[in-house]
Every structure is written in C-alpha cells, then in structure tokens.
C-alpha cells in the first residue's frame, strides 16, 4: 500500500477519531470553564483523574457504564474544587489549576498503589469492546470506533455544548459571566453559582475524555494523559473559545497523532518530535494573531472579556 493510500484509508480515519475523543472532551471542558470566566489549566489533571475514576468504577462493578459515571463524577468533583477555590476562595486560577494538576498526578498514583498495589498501572478492563466487530482490518477498526458509545457521546456533547452555550438561557448566563461578571451580577445572575456549574460541567466532560483514554488502552497507566490536557487547552485558544471549532482543532491534532501511528514504520524518530511540536507552535502563532488583532473591534476569536475577573 502506498503512503497516500494509508493516509486516506479507513485505519487513518479510525485512528484519528480514536485519538480525537479525549482531546475533544478536554477541549469542551476548557471551553465551558473559560467561557464562564474561569481560567482552567487543570484540564490535564481532570483528564487523568477522570481516567482513573473510570477504571476504578469499571473494576469495582464490572460495568463499563458505571466507570463512565464515576469518571465523569471525579472530573466534575475536581473541577468543582477548582471553581470553589477560585470563585469563593479568590485564589488565582493559575495557582489553583497548577494545584489540580499536582493533586491529580500524585493522587492517581496514590490511589493506584492503594487499590491495586502498583504505582504504574491498573488491572485490565474490558471497556466497550464489542465481540461482534472483531478483526484487525482498518474498516473493522473504523466501524468499532464509530459505534463506540464514547465516540458517539463526544460527538453529541460537541453539538449539545454548542447549542447550550449559544441558544439556551443557561448558556447565555455562562457567557454573560465570562464577558462581564459585574454586569451579569447587576442584572441578578448569581455569577459564583453559574461559574461553579459551568466549570463542573466542563470537568465532567473532561473526565469522560479520561475514561475514553483509559478504555481505549484497556487499563489506566499513571501519567497516561501525557500532555493531552495542554493540547486541548491549545485547541481552546485556537478555536477562539468556541465548542465546534475547538472540536475541529482537536480533530486536526488527532489526525497529526494518527499520521504518526499509521506512518510509524516510515517515520524516523525525529519527524515524530516535529509533529508533536506543531499544535504548540500553532497556538503561539494564534496567540500572536489574537493579540495583534485586539483593538480592531473584531469580536470573533478573542478570549472572553471577563476571563479571570471576579465580581468585585
């Protein structure tokens, strides 16, 4: 098979979708949090903690769905803690976000050793593996990925987030808190509660991404988020804090990853590192463009005006 055929083939599409799910979930988590005005650099930690939560739930109950629920819950709890510390405790969101990442990195290893007596990985879990659709061909992999409940859920969440944020009363309130918390408070919106809700919701989605990551590997490995939370943060910025575009950016980053997997035997190690650098370099360029455009009256693609601001 030629390189081109491989790149256009079903395997490539399947791998892209597979890799995109955790990115997109973390990206949505970032969009929800930051559109409400709370900076969130703790996505990495929420992804990691959610992944372990998923595996723990799965192992304990034998049900993959219970794992999904626990993973989302853990992500939401961590995000809620972040929101409370920032909104009620008036702590700098960067400090809190760093702490989230530290607590998740250390906490997941702690729980791994406490529950499974290993500091590196959990026992294997089944995830949503469907016996009906076995086979190693690219097409089979694609079908499996397409009918995976977490892939479908992620797609639904992208659409639902865009709709909720753009068209519902709750979404309007979230955006109001993110753009101008003082004005939002003045018209009777409880900024603290709205932010707590939005950040927690984002954390739950992010946790789901962690579950997808762990189910995909059929186990939890310590540090398995591997910077994906930061890639998602990059996607949020590149998207101009918009859910659909953030998901599209995540898809593009996932395609870069998939390219590495598919072309593995051809690529030298060096090119792999170059590909790894692309999302971050693109984000730096985007930061520059966004900052340069400021003052030209353009609204699309800029950060929420009240990001990081409190009511008083």
């Amino acid at each position: 098979m030629s390189v081109l055929e491989q790149i256009l083939g079903a395997t490539m599409v399947a791998q892209t979708l597979r890799m995109a799910v955790p990115y997109a979930c973390a990206g949505l988590g970032g969009v929800w949090s930051e559109r409400s005005g709370v900076v969130n650099i703790g996505l990495e930690g929420m992804l990691l903690a959610g992944g372990l939560g998923g595996v723990v739930g799965h192992v304990a109950t034998g049900s993959a769905w219970a794992g999904v629920a626990l993973g989302a819950l853990v992500g939401a709890a961590l995000a809620a803690a972040h929101a409370l510390v920032v909104v009620r405790g008036r702590v700098d969101a960067i400090v809190s976000g760093l702490a989230v990442n530290l607590v998740a990195a250390g906490g997941t290893r702690f729980v791994l050793r406490a529950l499974y007596d290993s500091s590196s990985n959990s026992p294997p879990v089944e995830g949503f593996r469907t016996a009906l659709l076995g086979g190693g061909s690219g097409a089979a992999l694609l079908v499996r990925t397409l009918v995976d409940p977490l892939t479908l859920a992620t797609a639904a969440l992208v659409a639902a987030s865009a709709w909720t944020l753009g068209r519902t009363r709750f979404g309007l309130r979230v955006r109001a808190c993110g753009e101008d918390p003082v004005a939002a408070a003045a018209v009777g919106v409880d900024v603290g509660r709205v932010r707590l809700a939005a950040v927690s919701l984002g954390g739950a989605i992010c946790g789901l991404g962690g579950v997808a990551l762990a189910y995909d590997q059929h186990q939890f490995q310590s540090g398995m988020s591997g910077g994906r939370g930061f890639i998602a943060l990059a996607a949020v910025i590149l998207s101009g804090w918009r859910p659909t575009r953030a998901a599209a950016a995540c898809l593009a980053f996932a395609a870069l990853d998939a390219l590495q997997i598919v072309a593995q035997d051809r690529a030298r190690a060096a090119s792999g590192y170059v590909v790894q650098m692309l999302p971050y370099a693109a984000t730096l360029v985007a930061l520059w463009l966004i900052a340069r455009r400021r003052g030209e009256g353009s609204i699309a693609g800029r950060p929420p005006a009240g990001l990081g601001k409190s009511v008083d």
Partner: protein, 348 residues
C-alpha cells in the same frame, strides 16, 4: 513586624499546617500510622547527614526556579515556563560542558557552562516575553506552550545527535566543568549526597537579585510596572521593555537551576533530569513572598518533601508529597486571600 509581614507568616504557617494535616489524613487512609510515617519522613531527611545533603541538593534548583518565578511575579507576570526553561538549559549545559573537551580548565569551563545555562533559559523565555510585552498576549498560555515545545524539542535535539547514539543522555561534561560536591570540602558526613557548590551559588544569586530589585533603577522599575503599568507608562517608564526584561531574566535564572542536577550530580544531561523543579519553583515563589530568606525556606520545605517522599516510600506511596505540594500552595493562597479580605474589611 509589619502588618503585611505578619499576615504573610500567618498564612504560610496555616498552609504548611494544612499540608501536614493532609499528609496525616492520606497516611491514615492508606492504613499506616501518621505518627510513624511523619517520624520516618523527618529522620530520613533532617535526621541524618546524607538526608540533609539530599534535601539541600533538591532545594538548589527549587530555590533558583523560585527566584526566577518571583522576578517575573514582581513585574506582574506569571512565568509558568520555568520548567521548560530549566530543561532546555540542562541540555545546553550538558552539551556545552561536553563540547569543551576533557582538558578544559575550570576557570574557562565553569563560566562557559553557567553562561550556556543562563542564555538557554533566557532564550526559551524570549517568545513569551515579546508576545506579552509587544502584543499583550497572555504569558501563562505562551509559557505553557513553550514547556511542551521544550519537551518535544529536547527529544528532537537528543535524537538528531546531541545524545550518545542509542541513549537519551549527552556525553560526560569536562571534568573542569563539574561543580564540586560539598563533601569534598571536608564536610565528609554529607558523603554520598549530591549537594554541591551550586547551593551556595544559588543563595548568592537569590541575595544579589533581591538587592538588585531593591536598589537598582531597573529593578525598582520592574516592581513598579508590576504594581501599576498605566502609572508607569504615564511616568515614561518603558513598560514593554521592563516586562520583557523581567521575563527574560526570569528565564535565565530558571536556566541556572539546571546547574545542580547536571554539573553537581550527574555530570551529563539526560532526558527528564531536573523535571518538576520548574513547577516546584512556582510553589516556592508563592510561599517565599519575594524575600530571599522566604524563598530559601520554601525551597528547603519542598526539598524536604521531595526527599522525604523517598524516605517513606516503603510504607506509603511517595507521590503523597506531590499531592501535598498542591495542597500547600492552594491552602497558602486561600489563607492569603482571607487575610487580605480581613485587612481590607478592617480599614473600611
């Protein structure tokens, strides 16, 4: 003591107390005795000479990274990029140190590697510095991106020829570039621990930077820019240049943080060497409150935690100390915010 200093001490004590409480709780959940584990943590660090040496070794990069983050904080900049700056500097120090050749004399080699570390760290801060100073782009995001770029960039540099083929480490540095360990100065009881002259060097740097901030014109202007950029602009202080300068200086200082692990400990750079010290520096700066003594104490605290984790690892997971780092910085920040609110409330 001034009211502000009292408040700083109070909230730091509260934060550290919260850390101890969290430790006790986690150990208890794990099914061990908090009293025994705490005793083991202390005896494995401050209770024996080797432990003291290791704490001092771990505190060295933490102190420099803490000073680095603090310098940026003065200007109102949050340098989350110390981690990447320190890593890139480690690679530069290892590469230059090895490139000098085995016979390079110390008077040439040491300044060369110190300059390499400072320059590499500074270089890694240039993009965030310019993005912020010229265009107002958020330095937190850009420094996070630079951290990730450092990660992949170092992998790339090692893969394309800076490493010994087949490994992820650079060749040994010139003997003259090595920083002498303190046990070679007659402190024989520290024998085996990696604490080197990088520690006194770091303390000197911390004191010099504090003096420069307090006494020099540029240093004072940086602090003023951090307090009110608009007022500074009105007073014709070159705000953009001071911001960029503070960030680049911060990068250079973070770069010096790589001296201890590369030249005092390993004698070469390898992938992952010094990891965590840059993020630890943020915690150090938050606890250190812009005072060299505070920064040193904070570096010693987190150095103790790091080494203490190893001492208790047989009974409870050492990663407890990573959790504690997170708990302490949030607890201190929470206490700070409460005290600040209380002070404001009393004046009103």
């Amino acid at each position: 003591m001034s009211e502000r200093a009292r408040a700083a001490v109070l909230s730091t004590v509260a934060g550290v107390a919260a850390g101890w409480l969290a430790l006790a709780l986690l150990v208890w959940i794990y099914g061990e005795s908090p009293r025994d584990v705490a005793a083991q943590l202390l005896s494995g660090t401050w209770g024996m000479p080797y432990g003291v040496g290791q704490v001092l070794y771990k505190a060295t990069p933490l102190l420099l990274a803490g000073v680095a983050v603090d310098v940026a904080l003065r200007a109102g900049l949050f340098n989350v990029g110390a981690e990447g700056q320190l890593a890139v500097a480690g690679l530069a120090i290892g590469t230059v140190g090895a490139g000098l050749g085995p016979t390079a004399p110390g008077w040439l080699a040491v300044p060369a590697v110190v300059a390499a570390g400072a320059l590499a760290g500074a270089a890694w801060a240039v993009v965030p510095a310019l993005l912020r100073a010229r265009f107002g782009a958020n330095e937190v995001i850009s420094t996070i991106m630079m951290n990730r770029l450092a990660d992949a960039g170092i992998g790339l540099a090692l893969a394309v020829g800076l490493a010994i083929p087949g490994t992820v480490r650079t060749p040994d540095v010139a003997a003259g570039a090595r920083l002498a360990r303190l046990d070679s100065f007659g402190l024989t009881s520290l024998h085996g621990s990696a604490v080197s002259v990088a520690l006194p060097l770091a303390i000197v740097v911390a004191v010099l930077v504090a003096g420069w901030q307090a006494r020099s014109r540029v240093g004072r202007e940086i602090t003023l820019v951090g307090l009110s950029p608009t007022a500074c602009a009105a007073e014709r202080i070159p705000v953009a240049r001071r911001l960029a300068g503070a960030m680049i200086l911060s990068g250079a200082l973070a770069g010096l943080g790589a001296l201890a692990p590369v030249l005092g400990y390993k004698g070469y750079f390898e992938s992952g060497l010094g990891a965590g010290a840059g993020f630890g520096g943020i915690a150090v700066a938050l606890l250190g409150r812009g005072h060299p003594v505070g920064l040193l104490l904070a570096a010693l605290l987190f150095g103790t935690l790091e080494q203490g984790g190893l001492a208790i690892n047989a009974r409870v997971p050492m990663e407890i100390t990573t959790i504690l780092q997170g708990v302490v910085i949030v607890a201190v920040a929470l206490a700070d915010a409460r005290i600040r609110a209380a002070l404001v409330g009393r004046r009103a």
